[in-house]
């Protein structure tokens, strides 16, 4: 058992007396290209899960010529096991808004939206006045940018950026074909930067504390820190900001309660890491990526039940638009049930693996493409639990 303590980071929730609007003011004195250069050199990648380089996203949107551009904050947090965006919006909403304002200045947007999942409507009571106040502050410092709120209506898929645009346009939340990407053809067909809540706070913080303190954390491919949502079999469930690139073993030593069998990293669409791999996997984009969801499972938990739960989730949340995902999710669920009940031989699991691989290449969006992550990592590592 290692005794080294995990390094806790305090960037997102730090309460240094520095109004986020001051950071916007400071940024307005810089050239947009200079800001882009700083965000790029910080190595910041999207914190929603997909990990696209944030600075590059801003650069692409800035380069587009358009009469109208948008900045959207993706607060449709719905990945099972993730709850950090809720906490961020609750505790430090001004930092999120400031991140949006800096982005608006950089790309030349005059309108922004927070797409808030309906399940978080209770936040509105505080968020609406905060937002009104912030919009007023923006006017005072002379930035022509207004942020509005848009409430979701309960659909996991709307966290997918193009489905989110469709939803805002009053349609079913069905993902679009890509390319074109949002930076060219986003909300209402206009260049749009859509960033996760946490990403926007890091942008704001990088502009405040500088690139170096951020860059010193993490690894070459996963710079900085990240907010983790820890749940499951742990006595320390909650929200923690940790350096990226830590070993899964370090994580388990800190949060596990001594009997950890597996950690599901990245929620239902993420990967399951079994005990035998704790020592050789790191948490980060070059290892096991995560949007923040960290679920810890003890030996007493049935991995079959866990996989079944994830598949039921996907069956319900698949938008149904493309066949590989709509039918694939249902067949995977039926398949593991059939094997478990002895209606199909255990070799049927291999066929299901092939199906999941097909879903990965043939599904239209990230939902269907990531179902195989949990499926294959659980089936491969806990095959006997799937059968007996």
């Amino acid at each position: 058992m290692k005794t080294s303590e995990l390094k806790k980071v305090d960037i997102i929730f730090d309460c240094v007396q520095c109004a986020p609007i001051e950071v916007v003011k400071k940024s307005l004195a810089m050239h947009p290209d200079e800001i882009i250069e700083q965000i790029i050199s910080s190595g910041l990648r999207g914190r929603g899960g997909a990990g696209f380089p944030t600075g590059l996203k801003w650069k692409l949107a800035k380069e587009e010529v358009s009469d109208q551009k948008y900045v959207i904050c993706n607060a449709d947090e719905g990945e099972p096991g993730t709850f950090k965006d809720r906490e961020i919006l609750d505790l430090v909403p001004n930092k999120v808004l400031a991140g949006m304002a800096i982005c608006a200045y950089v790309i030349g947007a005059t309108e922004g939206f927070i797409y808030l999942r309906n399940e978080y409507n209770f936040l509105l009571k505080k968020l609406i006045p905060t937002l009104e106040n912030f919009n007023k502050n923006l006017q005072e410092i002379g930035l022509d940018f207004t942020i509005k709120l848009f409430s979701g209506s309960g659909a996991y898929i709307c966290g997918e950026e193009s489905a989110l645009f469709e939803s805002m346009e009053g349609k079913r939340g069905e993902p679009r074909n890509k390319p074109p990407y949002p930076t060219r053809n986003g909300y209402k067909g206009k260049p749009t930067v859509i960033n996760n809540v946490e990403t926007l706070v890091y942008c704001n913080m990088i502009m405040r504390i500088g690139v170096e303190p951020f860059k010193q954390l993490g690894t070459k491919d996963s710079r900085g820190s990240k907010v983790f949502s820890v749940s499951g079999d742990t006595t320390k469930a909650g929200i923690y900001e940790l350096e990226l690139g830590i070993g899964v073993d370090e994580f388990v030593n800190e949060f596990g309660n001594g009997d950890t069998k597996a950690v599901q990293i990245g929620g239902a669409s993420g990967f399951c890491v079994p005990r035998k791999d704790f020592a050789n996997k790191i948490i980060g984009f070059e290892g096991v990526p995560t949007g923040g969801s960290m679920m810890i499972f003890n030996s007493s938990r049935s991995m079959y039940n866990i996989l079944k739960d994830y598949l039921e989730f996907f069956v319900e949340e698949s938008c149904g638009q493309c066949t590989p995902c709509r039918v694939g999710t249902q067949q995977l669920l039926k398949g593991i049930e059939a094997v478990k009940h002895g209606e199909m031989p255990s070799s049927y699991l291999n066929q299901l693996m092939k199906l999941s691989e097909t879903m990965k290449v043939a599904s239209k969006c990230g939902l269907g493409q990531s179902v195989p992550n949990a499926f294959s990592s659980i089936v491969k590592n806990f095959k006997e639990e799937m059968i007996y």
Binding site: G81, F83, A155, S229, G232
Partner: protein, 159 residues
């Protein structure tokens, strides 16, 4: 009826009569009338100059936009794995017993509808129950019953 027309009128005034106003309009109707009735969806379609199939198609995609009559209060209990591990089944049993309905049903007096939902974002404080917009993290069966009885004392007598 007149009141409904007023409601729709108000919502359109606020969100516009273009397609991108559709979701807020539907949300506004659900907030006032608990669900989207067929005549209401047809009215909305007319006002926005789109087909009523488009309105229904959109509404039926979202779990918060009910197209069937719902109770005045909607109780949601998270069914995702962390809440399951934290004992959401006990909460469900307690609510079912108190309201004498099953998951997915509405009480006869139309006061409560009870549903299970996917991850509500309170995994570290499960099990979680949400009634309308009010969140109750780390809920116990006893506390759940207490809250329901506070909202509707007629269920009190049964315990």
């Amino acid at each position: 009826m007149i009141q409904t027309e007023n409601l729709l009128h108000e919502l359109i005034e606020k969100h516009g009569n273009t397609r991108d106003g559709l979701l807020p309009i539907l949300q506004g109707v659900v907030a006032k009338e608990n669900y989207l009735s067929e005549p209401r969806m047809v009215e909305i379609a007319k006002a926005l100059n789109i087909s009523s199939a488009e309105v229904y198609g959109t509404a039926s995609f979202y779990t918060y936009l009910f197209t069937k009559p719902m109770g005045k209060n909607v109780i949601r209990v998270c069914k995702t794995i962390s809440c399951k591990m934290a004992g959401k089944q006990e909460i469900i049993k307690a609510i079912e017993k108190t309201l004498k309905i099953k998951v997915g049903e509405t009480t006869r007096d139309k006061n409560f509808t009870f549903i299970e939902t996917n991850c509500l974002g309170w995994c570290h404080k499960g099990p979680v129950m949400i009634i309308n917009d009010e969140v109750y993290p780390e809920i116990t069966p006893e506390r759940a019953v207490e809250i329901l009885c506070e909202m509707d004392p007629k269920h009190l007598s049964k315990f």
